[in-house]
């Protein structure tokens, strides 16, 4: 009996003392995912703006109107990009019913901008863009193909005349809903949705009680949306700032024909169509405005997952690998000829690195140990490569405990190398790359993604003025990967884009484009799943 009591007590001790910290260490996240994914429990759509019905991506850095437009030269517009750039347009399902909200029946749309800032303290929380969403209801008679605001110089697809328009800018607390007769229908609520680790989004909550055609939309209906942005100006028509031939403090520039060309900086073009071409489609001789084409939103269709069509094929990978190996082997041959007892430390290190790159880890390890034992105990690059080889051994080891033990050794080596390396030596590049390579593939539980980010940011600064473009791309890919791992997909995409600008190499170019597509798709998933 006494033994049983002690056993029970022992169980109790475990329950009491270990369940509490275990919970706080982070297992409630797993519980959260279980609730969302398995039980399907989530925040009521009425509170989150409604279920996501459609998501459209728009290119980054295309806030150039016809392709040549520039921002006003006023300093407040710095960095003269992003403020008017639509990145995403999200349409939610209309909500009918009660909600802890200012309106009970509404239809919400969200727009992600390249940058949403408020240096001028506009009351709605953003200073620069004016956003119009023209909505056409398929099969409904009437409508208009003219812009609500004449000076904007645009026309709409005659097949899809618009019936309602949502106009929003940061200088009025509420947006406005008009019908195609130009009559004011109702106010539109503007909210800036802020989430940690995610870009701020603008949500427009359109009350539908006073808009019978919107109220009556069912899952069978189809709507068409024209989404466009201009630069806010308090006095111009529709608050769209003029875009003239030459930018000035009060107008944008790069517009060869301001009388007829559109005054819009970005527009959500449908898949397969080119924004610059559409916006350049005006005809000054015939005095015809550019005709915008809408994106289609089927009210009953949820978000369709896009498949990534990979640009980098297996064949490309093989080709690249063969050419890389050939180069490495050539260098190994040259260095092996010089290999003798008096070989200098630098050559030895280089040879070890080449062995490592070639997958000949045993030879690399022998050389690296020789360097560290006989030549230079403080050779950080050698230590880092030895750490990387040890980490690889950990991956191949049998049993989890052995894996963890060997990985711990590898991490100690890598951290020591990073701590000891002189920041002005070339070794720092090797050390940081080695550590980032290892830390970016070890399980999340080690919590090393921040280290990868810090290392790669440091490396990016070091390489800023160098011509080592492939190495720069490697660093950006690594950094982008780390951001993606932290679910900061926009930051990841930005990294890949910056790398894409620097590389000429076709292999890297394809690889980066795939990474961008992948990160954008994951970002889309993030929006859908994380209401």
């Amino acid at each position: 009996m006494r033994k049983i009591k002690i056993i029970l007590m022992f169980i109790l001790v475990i329950l009491v003392f270990f369940s509490v910290p275990v919970y706080f260490i982070g297992y409630y996240e797993a519980f959260g995912n279980f609730m969302i994914e398995t039980l399907g429990i989530n925040i009521s759509p009425a509170l989150s703006g409604g279920e996501v019905m459609a998501v459209f991506n728009d290119s980054y850095y295309d806030d150039k109107g016809t392709g040549s437009y520039t921002y006003s030269e006023a300093e407040v517009f710095q960095p003269y990009s992003g403020h008017l750039d639509i990145l995403k347009y999200i349409v939610k399902k209309p909500v009918h019913g009660k909600a802890w909200n200012d309106v009970n029946e509404f239809w919400a749309m969200e727009v992600v901008m390249g940058s949403l800032t408020n240096p001028l303290k506009a009351p709605a929380g953003f200073s620069f863009p004016v956003i119009n969403i023209y909505i056409s209801i398929d099969g409904k008679e009437g409508g208009s193909i003219k812009s609500l605001f004449p000076g904007v110089n645009i026309a709409f697809d005659p097949e899809h005349p618009w019936h309602y328009v949502v106009t929003v800018n940061g200088w009025e607390v509420d947006g406005k809903l008009y019908n195609s007769n130009g009559e004011y229908v109702d106010r539109v609520l503007i909210d800036i949705i802020k989430k940690k680790d995610r870009e701020d989004r603008l949500r427009f909550t359109v009350p539908i009680e006073k808009a019978p055609e919107l109220y009556a939309l069912t899952e069978k209906d189809t709507t068409y949306h024209y989404v466009l942005t201009g630069s806010y100006d308090p006095v111009e028509s529709g608050n769209f700032r003029s875009i003239l031939q030459k930018e000035s403090k009060i107008s944008g520039g790069g517009n060869p024909e301001p009388e007829i060309a559109p005054m819009i900086y970005d527009y959500l073009a449908p898949d397969g169509m080119d924004q610059y071409k559409i916006l350049s489609g005006y005809n000054s001789k015939k005095q015809k405005y550019a005709v915008l084409k809408p994106v289609k939103v089927s009210m009953g269709v949820g978000v369709e997952k896009k498949e990534i069509v990979k640009q980098l094929t297996e064949e490309d990978e093989k080709k690249y690998e063969i050419s890389r190996k050939t180069e490495v082997n050539k260098s190994i041959d040259q260095l092996e000829k010089a290999l003798n007892d008096n070989i200098d430390e630098e050559t030895m290190t280089m040879l070890a690195v080449l062995y490592f790159q070639n997958g000949e880890n045993e030879q690399a390890e022998i050389l690296l140990k020789k360097i560290l034992q006989n030549k230079d105990v403080n050779n950080s690059a050698a230590l880092a490569y030895l750490g990387a080889i040890t980490a690889k051994k950990a991956a191949d080891a049998a049993g989890n405990i052995a894996k963890m033990r060997i990985l711990a050794e590898a991490m100690t080596m890598l951290d020591k190398a990073a701590a000891d390396v002189k920041s002005d030596s070339i070794d720092v590049v090797h050390v940081l790359m080695c550590r980032a390579n290892v830390y970016s593939i070890i399980p999340d539980i080690y919590n090393k993604t921040d280290t990868v980010i810090a290392d790669m940011e440091k490396l990016t600064v070091i390489l800023a003025d160098s011509s080592l473009n492939e190495l720069k791309a490697d660093a950006a890919i690594m950094l982008g990967g780390a951001y993606a791992r932290k679910r900061m997909f926009k930051a990841a995409v930005d990294q890949y884009h910056s790398a894409l600008k620097t590389v000429q190499n076709e292999y890297y170019s394809k690889k980066l484009k795939d990474k961008i597509a992948e990160a954008e798709l994951l970002y889309l998933d993030k929006i859908i799943t994380n209401l």
């Binding site: 009591k5 009491v16 609730m35 969302i36 039980l39 925040i43 909210d191 209401l531």
Partner: protein
């Protein structure tokens, strides 16, 4: 064989210095992990964090050494609630510039979730899988899943002990109940059926949430909006709501506790407390009365802050289901007839008898006598409950103290 006597029933619950120190060290090891080693606390001065750990250590040691639970728990619990309020409001001013629950915060699902919101969300969640509160599902801070997991764990370890050790709000009316001397100016004991009122509030809040599909209690009644966040007063509706919740706060959290020396908010109007009462039987711990020792002085009935001790309890030998394990009855019983017990396992300092056998060479008599003290139900309850409370407090107490120091030096509680 030398038979050693069991601990006398009249001995107090105090422990020896050795046992108290050993238990305190054990407790400190756990909380130090959260206060001193957690990366999330890197921005907070290490001295502040260390002082908080020492403060808890001292309270825990005193609970063990003196055998008085409620006195020291009350100090912890009141500071817990006050510092929570300071941190919560200051943080709101940092991110929103006011205490107003703005539309943008709701639209961004950035309203902190709490146990009361959890309670109201339960039925709609079961029926529609929708959470009717504008909070985050997962992530940092007070999320739906975080609170749900937290509720699950606390409920099945300390049951309604939550209300006296971990609740963010309960410390306020406990604190006010200590003000204005010990004399009760208003005796609620004669209103026998008052103790059932929280269950009515519970039914009301659950049903209104289900019928209106929004957290009705949170919107209109919750008194603690006064110390957290509330809708901006812009029309008659919001004005009426403000009058209602501020009025409830002023009466049930401030005035009534001072007058009655009871926790009237927790004991009479909190639906979550009533809800937790149903889980008091699912935990291992009980507050048990030794009927043979009880002299029916009714001190426990008079002292119980949550109206859980009744004459029926004295007959049954166990506190009522609304007992929040605060320990006030245990501290005040003149015959030491009340103590915590672990269901089915008679491990208490009074009952233990590890010293009964004197098998030489096995256990040293001294250490076995210490085992009598350490393997004690109250040690386990206090350790669990205090551990919960102090770990939860790690999220706001150090930063709150940093804010107070900042206020002393710069005149503002805001850190950025």
């Amino acid at each position: 064989m030398k038979i050693l006597p069991k601990l006398s029933i009249n001995q107090t619950f105090s422990k020896s210095i050795f046992s108290s120190i050993v238990l305190t060290i054990f407790f400190l090891i756990f909380i130090s992990f959260f206060y001193l080693m957690s990366p999330s606390m890197e921005n907070i001065n290490i001295i502040i964090r260390a002082l908080v750990v020492i403060f808890y250590g001292v309270l825990f040691f005193l609970m063990m050494k003196t055998g008085r639970i409620s006195t020291y728990r009350s100090i912890f619990f009141t500071t817990f609630a006050v510092l929570f309020v300071i941190e919560f409001i200051s943080h709101l001013f940092e991110i929103r510039g006011s205490m107003y629950l703005t539309r943008a915060a709701r639209a961004s699902l950035e309203t902190p979730f709490c146990q009361r919101a959890f309670l109201q969300s339960l039925l709609p969640m079961i029926f529609s899988k929708d959470v009717i509160f504008p909070a985050r599902m997962t992530g940092y801070g007070a999320t739906v899943t975080g609170v749900a997991a937290f509720w699950f764990l606390t409920t099945f370890t300390i049951g309604r002990g939550f209300c006296s050790w971990v609740c963010f709000f309960g410390g306020l009316d406990e604190g006010f109940s200590k003000l204005g001397g010990k004399k009760k100016r208003w005796n609620l004991d004669k209103f026998k059926y008052l103790r059932y009122f929280p269950f009515a509030v519970l039914i009301f809040s659950v049903l209104t949430a289900l019928l209106t599909y929004e957290p009705f209690y949170c919107k209109w009644i919750c008194a603690f909006k006064t110390t957290t966040e509330f809708a901006q007063i812009v029309d008659m509706k919001t004005f009426f709501a403000a009058v209602l919740f501020i009025g409830i706060f002023a009466t049930t959290v401030v005035a009534f506790p001072i007058l009655t020396k009871r926790r009237t908010q927790c004991g009479l109007i909190c639906p979550f407390g009533a809800f937790q009462s149903f889980f008091n039987k699912t935990t291992l711990y009980r507050v048990v009365i030794d009927i043979t020792e009880c002299i029916n002085c009714k001190t426990c009935i008079k002292e119980c802050p949550t109206f859980s001790m009744t004459e029926e309890s004295l007959k049954k030998g166990e506190a009522g289901i609304t007992c929040s394990r605060c320990g006030r009855c245990i501290d005040n019983c003149p015959k030491n007839a009340i103590d915590y017990k672990i269901m089915g396992i008679p491990f208490t300092q009074k009952d233990n008898n590890f010293t009964r056998d004197d098998k030489k060479g096995k256990w040293n008599l001294y250490f076995r006598s210490k085992l009598n003290e350490i393997l004690d139900a109250r040690v386990f309850l206090i350790m669990t409950a205090f551990l919960f409370g102090s770990i939860i407090a790690s999220g706001f107490i150090p930063v709150s103290i940093q804010r107070i120091l900042n206020f002393i030096s710069t005149g503002t509680l805001l850190l950025n």
